[in-house]
């Protein structure tokens, strides 16, 4: 019995319905839709407090921040998506920062679906003022939920 409990805790996504992964992504996305930012550097999050740093959400020089829409995906599928679309050697997929579309909209920026891949999107519409941009990044980091990759941080 104890074995089964442990097995179930370790592999909670194993019995998820396959159809969940083909959930329709609406346009515009629903406010409750989850997004994730994959983190390949340990400097972008705090493992001790399970929090994300603002630097993880600062847009690149092109003024966009790459995220993925993870609605309907199981936990193992979300990590597989990151491995397939973001991970490149010698880096490791350490963690992800999950936010909702609502928390993105609350900051005043927007989500721009940007396939391929089909679930890719960018956070766009960042303020031109750099300190305002920093504030948005800090707000997103504050709203984010950190998830550690169990394959890297068991």
């Amino acid at each position: 019995m104890r074995f089964l409990e442990r097995f179930w805790r370790t592999w909670p996504g194993l019995w998820a319905r396959p159809s969940a992964e083909s959930a329709t992504l609406t346009s515009p996305p629903d406010s409750a839709e989850p997004l994730t930012r994959y983190l390949l550097s340990t400097s972008q999050f705090r493992r001790a407090s399970w929090t994300v740093k603002a630097s993880a959400f600062v847009p690149g020089p092109d003024g966009r921040k790459s995220v993925f829409r993870i609605l309907g995906l199981t936990e193992p599928s979300i990590w597989k998506l990151g491995e397939a679309e973001v991970l490149n050697p010698p880096f490791r997929l350490h963690a992800r920062a999950d936010v909702t579309v609502r928390s993105v909209r609350d900051t005043g920026i927007t989500l721009d679906a940007d396939p391929p891949p089909s679930r890719h999107a960018d956070l766009v519409g960042w303020p031109p003022d750099e300190s305002a941009c920093l504030l948005v990044a800090a707000q997103l980091a504050d709203a984010a939920e950190l998830r550690l990759n169990p394959a890297v941080h068991p």
């Binding site: 390949l40 550097s41 400097s43 972008q44 705090r46 407090s49 929090t51 740093k53 603002a54 630097s55 600062v58 847009p59 690149g60 020089p61 790459s66 973001v86 991970l87 490149n88 880096f91 003022d129 750099e130 300190s131 305002a132 920093l134 504030l135 990044a137 800090a138 707000q139 980091a141 504050d142």
Partner: protein
């Protein structure tokens, strides 16, 4: 009491920088990191927060001075930005807790203090004289830009105190 001094002529090189470049930038960075590491190991009186912050800066620079250090196309932290970040730490009041240090994809160095959900303050330091800051104080926020000279700008300290208070 803190007296962190940068000696531009210092050629000490002991930091484990993952950079084998021979450019002037690489040489400047080596000198800077060598100076910081020397401060940490010999002869310089540092408070615990400054020491923690300097060690975190060294860790950050060891990773983020290469192009694409985040695996997603980030710009490297330049020697000028690293120098400014070092200066920023040396100017911090000794009474403040040590900040978290990280780099962002544009090559700026971040100093971040967090006091739980909705209470955080972050300063970004780049190669120029201007530092940017942003603070979360519950439902209120603040942000701005200030020139970094020979002291931490008052607006930065005031908002930091608000976030930590």
């Amino acid at each position: 009491m803190t007296s962190v001094a940068l000696d531009p002529g210092d050629v000490t090189w002991v930091a484990p920088l993952n950079d084998h470049g021979v450019s002037e930038d690489a040489n400047r960075l080596r000198r800077l990191l060598g100076g910081v590491q020397r401060d940490l190991t010999v002869g310089v009186s540092l408070t615990a927060p400054h020491r923690v912050a300097l060690e975190a800066l060294l860790d950050t620079l060891a990773e983020a001075t290469r192009a694409g250090w985040d695996g997603q196309g980030a710009r490297p932290v330049s020697p000028d930005a690293a120098l400014r970040a070092h200066v920023f730490i040396s100017l911090l009041p000794t009474t403040l807790p040590a900040p978290d240090v990280s780099a962002d994809p544009t090559g700026r160095v971040h100093f971040e203090w967090r006091r739980g959900q909705g209470r955080a303050f972050v300063v970004s330091v780049g190669p120029g004289d201007v530092v940017h800051y942003a603070g979360l104080f519950g439902r209120n926020t603040a942000h701005g830009s200030e020139e970094l000279s020979d002291e931490i700008p008052r607006a930065v300290l005031a908002n930091l105190a608000r976030a930590l208070g």
